[in-house]
Symmetry: C2
């Protein structure tokens, strides 16, 4: 087991009506608030009004219109408001995109230069405004981690900024806020959670057994409840288990003692940076292709372990079990109604070369991944996804 530090300062308030704590807890962080959110869904659901009412004694500013795959331009806007108005705390109400944009704003607000500088060199982040979250989409785990992924629409780069200063101080996770989530978003979010766990599970270190069995537990949870949450949007058991799975799935717990670079996410990131598709949809398409491409005598035992422990496959031959794992992942994605090919989302092979180069250039794919991949490998994976 590799050495690790585990130190997560986020205060999670999980469950029905936890929003009631907002005035008291947010008040500890600041009174001048930048409320960051996406489109109109929090207005339609009544959450926006509820928050405005709860925070009527706070000085409120707003940045709305944060898009999926949040853009640098939104961060620049938010950062300007913070500097101009002397914002003390950022309240992100939404899912991963809103939280990630808020994190980047929180850091940019305390930095003299351009926000993108901080993505290119995270050591420039010396300070950040405190961040509070009200979670309305479960997928990215951003509510309890220190990472944020931002897309630079000019350069087609989709990169991560990550420093302990960006842990949210407070995250309110009420599963009933997921009741109004469209089935498509529930599906994409569930695939994202599963992919996070798989990225951490498929790593070279086999000695961190406890981390692996905890990962299997979270994968089983996602598989058990994803379809149920789509079919029964107001099933509290399904929503709450998925919501906590998303948090646990990427709050460092499932990576301790392991290590290495991720594989499918960096490949997907270039796709959504170039084509702005939903991240979870991209993951659903690329994951089985990646598994197929990297399957070997070396990787088969771990794929087989996933087949057995997560999908309950009873097959003693590792290679056969590993192939079944790939089939099971495809089946799972299919059961959620997700596409299986890039052509299904209108992507042709036109930019495969360019995207493959970018994926390798901007990640640890060729240096630290579970199976190291160069540009040609990534291109072949794209070809498997056509």
């Amino acid at each position: 087991m590799n050495n690790f530090v585990y130190n997560i300062p986020t205060d999670i308030r999980f469950g029905r009506e936890q929003i009631k704590c907002l005035p008291e807890e947010l008040g500890k962080l600041g009174k001048k608030v930048l409320l960051v959110y996406g489109g109109g869904s929090i207005k339609r659901s009544g959450l926006y009004d509820k928050i405005k009412e709860l925070l009527k004694d706070f000085e409120m500013f707003e940045l709305s219109g944060i898009e999926p795959n949040p853009k640098l331009s939104s961060v620049e806007k938010g950062s300007e408001i913070c500097k101009k108005e002397g914002i003390e705390v950022i309240l992100a109400v939404g899912g991963g995109s809103v939280i990630d944009a808020s994190k980047h704003i929180a850091a940019s607000a305390c930095y003299e230069g351009k926000p993108w500088d901080l993505v290119l060199d995270r050591s420039l982040v010396k300070k950040a405004l405190p961040i509070a979250v009200v979670l309305t989409i479960c997928a990215t785990g951003s509510e309890m981690n220190s990472g944020a992924v931002i897309s630079n629409e000019k350069t087609h780069e989709k990169l991560e900024i990550n420093t302990p200063l960006l842990y949210p101080k407070l995250s309110i996770c009420d599963p009933t806020y997921l009741y109004t989530l469209p089935a498509k978003q529930t599906a994409a979010g569930s695939v994202d959670i599963l992919s996070h766990v798989m990225e951490q599970y498929f790593q070279p270190n086999d000695e961190a057994y406890i981390t692996d069995v905890l990962s299997e537990a979270v994968m089983k949870t996602v598989i058990k409840y994803a379809k149920k949450a789509m079919d029964e949007p107001e099933n509290y058991e399904a929503r709450s288990n998925l919501m906590w799975a998303s948090t646990i799935g990427l709050n460092h717990l499932l990576t301790v003692g392991k290590g290495g670079a991720w594989s499918v996410h960096p490949i997907e990131h270039v796709v959504s940076a170039y084509y702005d598709i939903t991240h979870g949809v991209g993951l659903a398409i690329i994951t089985p292709a990646w598994m197929t491409y990297v399957l070997s005598e070396h990787t088969a035992p771990r794929f087989a372990r996933m087949a057995k422990e997560v999908f309950g496959v009873n097959e003693s031959d590792d290679m056969s079990a590993a192939r079944l794992a790939i089939e099971k992942v495809k089946e799972f994605n299919g059961s959620l109604g997700l596409p299986a090919h890039l052509s299904d989302v209108g992507i042709t092979d036109e930019k495969f070369d360019e995207m493959a180069s970018e994926a390798v250039r901007t990640s640890g794919l060729s240096t630290r991944a579970y199976v190291k991949l160069d540009k040609e490998d990534v291109k072949k994976i794209f070809l498997l996804c056509r």
Copy 2:
């Protein structure tokens, strides 16, 4: 899933040589240090000298001789030193007993009245000195939780004090410090970890599926590595997995969304309060008796689930599988060389009546346990343990 708060401020430094961070990290908490430890094992292992060398620029005071089942009198001594010397931070070097005593000292040092008051009424704890830990025995999880169990040798009470103020600020967990742990302590510690998880697993709420599968993961870890760590004391993989299992096993993660009172621990606590036996040994004796006593149509499905998911038992009938779970627990304890009867540790039925009363009086056994137990029930469980 029940509502919950998850907010753990402990900074865990896990792995080889993490002790190197001690001067820097402890320095953030204070420069006047009360070093609390047990007997001579940390002197024999060289850890004592290493810490003294690392902290040569700190003002050091010492409280040694903390006993297993730590006593109120030790807490009183420590609290006096803190008040007299103006101690700023407590450094606990040891296992659960040392950490628990240190927590109670940390709270008592900031309280005008008698330390035992704080155990009887935790609302009196308004402040506590910061606590840092160097872990040398893995069992209680005290390195990442806010509880401390203290024995009052005059009243035969063994009670818990628990408030968020008592979370250690820093815990250094180096699995190599477990290399010198005698096999008997490894066995008792492993049973303690397993019991913590079982206490949380056997609770009324079935909707917190994710918490249950995470619990199964930790139980599997303990069962996989306990014997190995005894047989191969310097097996890093075994020691590190057990060490992290003990932390995860009782850092709140495995109880979120569930709830209710524990069963076996309060029964054992009276036994070790009266007879001062090793806590893990008491748990090994009582756990199968408790399972046998509470087995019913109502509890069988969950016992059966444990049999299947943790022990890999393949048996479709719940009642038969549940009985196999009890056998498997006995087998596990036996494989670690632990006794199965109270008579094996010199305890007769003389005080069963009195102990049963105490167990019910000082716990939630009769009001909130998985299966509610009154004094007669507890006495019958003691009789099963003879």
